[in-house]
Symmetry: C2
Subunit: 327 residues, 2 copies
């Protein structure tokens, strides 16, 4: 089986590629070839993997590049590439070019291949929803994005549904919760603090908390995100009918609950490293985000949420070798 | 005030253009210039109107054509042009080219003009919804199109919302009910019989009814559609916030109720001209259409539905000079 990961240099894409290289499997199928594509070369090596790894870089909005990627006729395509929320809002043209035109070029390149109907797994976002929200948000709530990023992701979903309905490919879209705890260094995303308040204290470093403890958010662990992608790539999609894009299961937790779990797992000297420094801008952005879902369809179709925020923290400690001073 | 009607050769576009020419007004503003654009020349004449009428033909998906149209900097743009449902389903490329690329080119041409923020009134469709339906469909129900046409219309809505949110233009989208009674000759649309069973008998001609009497549908009169467009062009859109696309108010009526109203207005010898000839294909298509809405937002913002189906029939008789044999 040939697998193509578009957006392989990002956190989720790299984790997915690493898993495919290490396991050599996708469901019951043996992965023979993995193409890891991104705008920059993905930091991956095949190591002892039996999978043939091809790392490629290029522009997803360039037709020749996309035609070449699809010319290899991968069996499964993970399309994770996107200009993220803040950048798509700041750079109108770039957001539409990568997130809309790039996605459409990809879908059109698939359509252009004769007798070719691959599985397409597309990462969407809860940014397809906009305030006011249903609480919790159900599977039939209106998608009304309030950012250009959310607009572009939603257009990608609509295209994916239509191309799938017409049998051009067999697609599924996953609206991922915010991934917590993101490994690596702090980033500039407005949602970054949700990971930072766990990751930095566990590494013995101070973290800034810019919002109140009662702020509620919808999160899933990196391991859950990986599990969603693998399940999406291998499940039977016919039962989904025409609605191919699903709210992924997550945990709805408040900042206060996150910190209480951190204290349970790693002790009060760890949570003492969280410094409250309210930031009106971030508070405003976060106030516009969905905070709770009832992801009934996804769960009915076999997607599984994290068991608890305690487990998310413990998994982060295990995966990264973070050593809390006690706990 | 300069007004541009894109799709001026269609039934609704021509009615709108005729109204603007005859009244010379759009709300409180005097219309000085009207450009009537379509892929074929609109059948319109200025007559004694003080409005300067320019009839143009061209391809909405051709950038130079669109740039030229927008180069005139119309104050109000009605974008009614579309490849309709059946054709967009039969011709994938044409549907996406006209309905998606054409709409995006138009919005981009507006963005390219410096200091230019026109009113844009876009006709969408209840085809943005797909089964299973909420009953009635409310303003927060998921839009899940099950046709390429509905997909393309929904993408247009998303773009309109995003461009409006960013202040590029001041847009509003109207999801029109099926227009009944359409004047003129029978057409090939699957929904055509909803008009035909009223229009043809009133003209003394036989009409075919391909579905059961208990089939329920969501309809509005041509006069209501015109009213929606005029109100959309002149109302304050700021209170709509980021959700600029509205389910227009209509009447939810069964075929049986339509025929009972026809008999009340025009007598049993008129309804006797309706011949029941079940058509499984049309029954199947109609079964996938939404049948009832609770258009609360639109009504709250001043859009008004027809009072009754009796009134719709009487208005058709008045407007077209149809003469039922009695009644």
């Amino acid at each position: 089986m040939k697998v193509l990961v578009i957006g392989a240099a990002g956190m989720v894409g790299r984790m997915l590629a690493r898993h495919l290289l290490d396991s050599g499997k996708l469901g019951d199928s043996t992965v023979t070839d993995l193409t890891a594509f991104d705008v920059v070369p993905a930091d991956l090596d095949a190591g002892s993997s039996a999978v043939r790894l091809s790392i490629r870089e290029g522009d997803i909005a360039d037709p020749a590049t996309v035609d070449q990627l699809i010319g290899d006729r991968p069996d499964v395509i993970f399309h994770l590439a996107a200009v993220v929320s803040g950048e798509a809002e700041a750079d109108f043209d770039k957001g539409y070019r990568i997130n809309l035109d790039g996605t459409r070029l990809l879908f059109e390149a698939i359509r252009a291949q004769p007798d070719y109907h691959p599985r397409v797994v597309y990462t969407s976002s809860v940014a397809v929803f906009g305030a006011p929200f249903e609480d919790p948000i159900t599977d039939t709530y209106i998608t009304a994005p309030m950012t250009s990023y959310g607009t572009q992701k939603m257009i990608g979903e609509l295209l994916l549904n239509d191309y799938s309905r017409r049998g051009i490919f067999d697609g599924i879209g996953l609206r991922l919760p915010t991934i917590v705890v993101r490994p690596g260094k702090p980033n500039k995303a407005a949602s970054g603090f949700f990971s930072g308040i766990i990751r930095e204290p566990l590494a013995g470093q101070e973290a800034i908390l810019p919002v109140e403890d009662n702020v509620r958010h919808w999160v899933a662990s990196p391991a859950s995100a990986l599990g969603f992608l693998l399940h999406a790539a291998t499940m039977d999609l016919a039962p989904l009918g025409a609605r191919r894009c699903l709210n992924m299961p997550g945990l709805s937790v408040t900042v206060g609950e996150m910190l209480a779990a951190l204290e349970d797992v790693a002790g009060p000297q760890t949570t003492a490293l969280v410094r409250r420094e309210p930031d009106e801008t971030i508070r405003g952005i976060v106030a516009g985000w969905p905070r709770d879902f009832d992801p009934a369809r996804a769960m009915q179709h076999g997607f599984v949420a994290d068991a608890s925020f305690h487990d998310i923290i413990r998994a982060h400690i295990r995966d990264t070798g973070a050593r809390p001073e006690s706990g």
